[in-house]
């Protein structure tokens, strides 16, 4: 199983703890690690790590995503999307590279190959 730090290196800037509930748009300039609940939108040009305890009802735009938790929403990932066990993802996905591990559940459509367009959208703002 890939580790967030070994995959994407730099220090995590935002950490959402396991008992935190966020409502609204979570924007960050750095890496985000989510262990709690987020309802709204998540946006960063860096990486997002969604842990097993996380439950996200949000659209996500990010540089890279590693998911082991639950996501309901559409995702635009400029770089790599890794679905780890026991992730449960419902929504459409646009990404550059997709890696699905045994035990991950994904319901939705995947679109790949539009990397430049997705990257421009993620880095917008």
């Amino acid at each position: 199983m890939e580790n967030f730090e070994t995959s994407f290196g730099s220090v995590t800037e935002t950490v959402v703890g396991p008992s935190v509930k966020i409502q609204g748009d979570l924007n960050s300039e750095g890496n985000i690690r989510i262990q709690g609940h987020v309802h709204g939108n998540v946006k960063t040009s860096e990486s997002v790590f969604i842990e097993e305890t996380a439950k996200i009802t949000a659209d996500i735009q990010a540089g890279n995503v590693i998911c082991a938790g639950e996501i309901t929403g559409n995702m635009k990932v400029a770089g790599k999307m890794i679905m780890q066990s026991p992730s449960h993802i419902t929504g459409n996905l646009e990404c550059g590279i997709l890696q699905v591990e045994d035990g991950a559940v994904f319901n939705g459509e995947v679109s790949m190959g539009n990397q430049k367009k997705v990257q421009a959208e993620v880095e917008e703002e």
Partner: protein, 280 residues
């Protein structure tokens, strides 16, 4: 010209006289003597800052404890001073942050004019460069033994609600937290508590078991909550504490404000004299 504000608050008269003599000697030695004024009941810090401004002073030096510095800071009112701090209190948290741990080091730093531009944070009308605490972190914990662990765990939990950067709301039950501009236990290699990054760091300590609390006591004592698994870390420019109403926000254990309150980083920065051992 340097303008020195000497505050004898909380010091025995004899100790204050000793420090004053030591300071005068060092200022003469390093050739940075200026006008020295002493805080008195009829000449309080706001009056002295106004006096310095009238005299066209460029470098204002707060000599006393952390409250002296914070009072000077609160009364700058946007005027363009370079600020320096000479600590008369050996336990000064600000002196550790700025790397001016004692009178001699502070005077040497002032003579060397090592100046940094640092962020200025504001809560209500109070400006600060250090940090605010709430919940168990307001206890100014010096050591954690078994008895302290029981006391901390039995403290009432806080149902926190806060709005971050006018963008999202955060809700959770927690033990306490910190809003950090800079702190005495950080290092220049860290992304947390950097007073030059134009951001505040909001650290929230979730409810911990006795065992977990004991296991991470060093991190709690030093305020390095980000080292504790499950701690929420948020970088932001503006933080509005919404609930619970009446919850105290403290600075080194002294109540500064109560919820609801807004903390934000200011656009303008502060020119401040620092030592080479500063924490940022």
């Amino acid at each position: 010209m340097h303008f020195y504000i000497l505050d004898p608050t909380n010091l025995p008269a004899e100790r204050f006289e000793q420090l004053q003599v030591q300071l005068s000697g060092l200022l003469a030695e390093f050739n940075i003597a200026g006008e020295m004024v002493r805080v008195a009941p009829l000449r309080r810090i706001p009056d002295l800052v106004d006096l310095a401004s009238q005299r066209g002073v460029r470098t204002l030096v707060a000599c006393g404890n952390d409250d002296t510095f914070n009072m000077v800071l609160a009364n700058l009112k946007g005027r363009d001073f370079t600020l320096a701090y000479i600590p008369f209190d050996p336990d000064s948290a600000l002196a550790r942050i700025l790397g001016t741990k004692d009178v001699t080091t502070a005077v040497k730093s002032l003579a060397a004019r090592r100046i940094e531009n640092i962020d200025l944070a504001r809560i209500d009308k109070t400006f600060f460069i250090s940090y605010l605490e709430f919940g168990v972190l307001s206890r100014n914990i010096k050591s954690i033994n078994l008895w302290n662990v029981f006391k901390l765990v039995s403290e009432p939990k806080i149902s926190l609600s806060a709005r971050v950067d006018d963008s999202y709301t955060i809700n959770l039950e927690c033990m306490g937290g910190l809003v950090i501009n800079s702190r005495s236990s950080s290092s220049s290699k860290e992304s947390v508590a950097n007073p030059t990054d134009k951001h505040l760091d909001f650290l929230i300590l979730e409810n911990l078991s006795k065992m977990f609390l004991f296991q991470h006591k060093e991190s709690i004592i030093s305020g390095r909550l980000e080292e504790i698994p499950g701690t929420t870390v948020i970088k932001c420019k503006k933080l509005e504490f919404l609930k619970p109403a009446g919850q105290a926000l403290t600075m080194l254990g002294r109540v500064i404000s109560k919820f609801p309150a807004t903390v934000e980083i200011q656009q303008r920065s502060l020119k401040i004299v620092v030592g080479k051992d500063r924490t940022f």
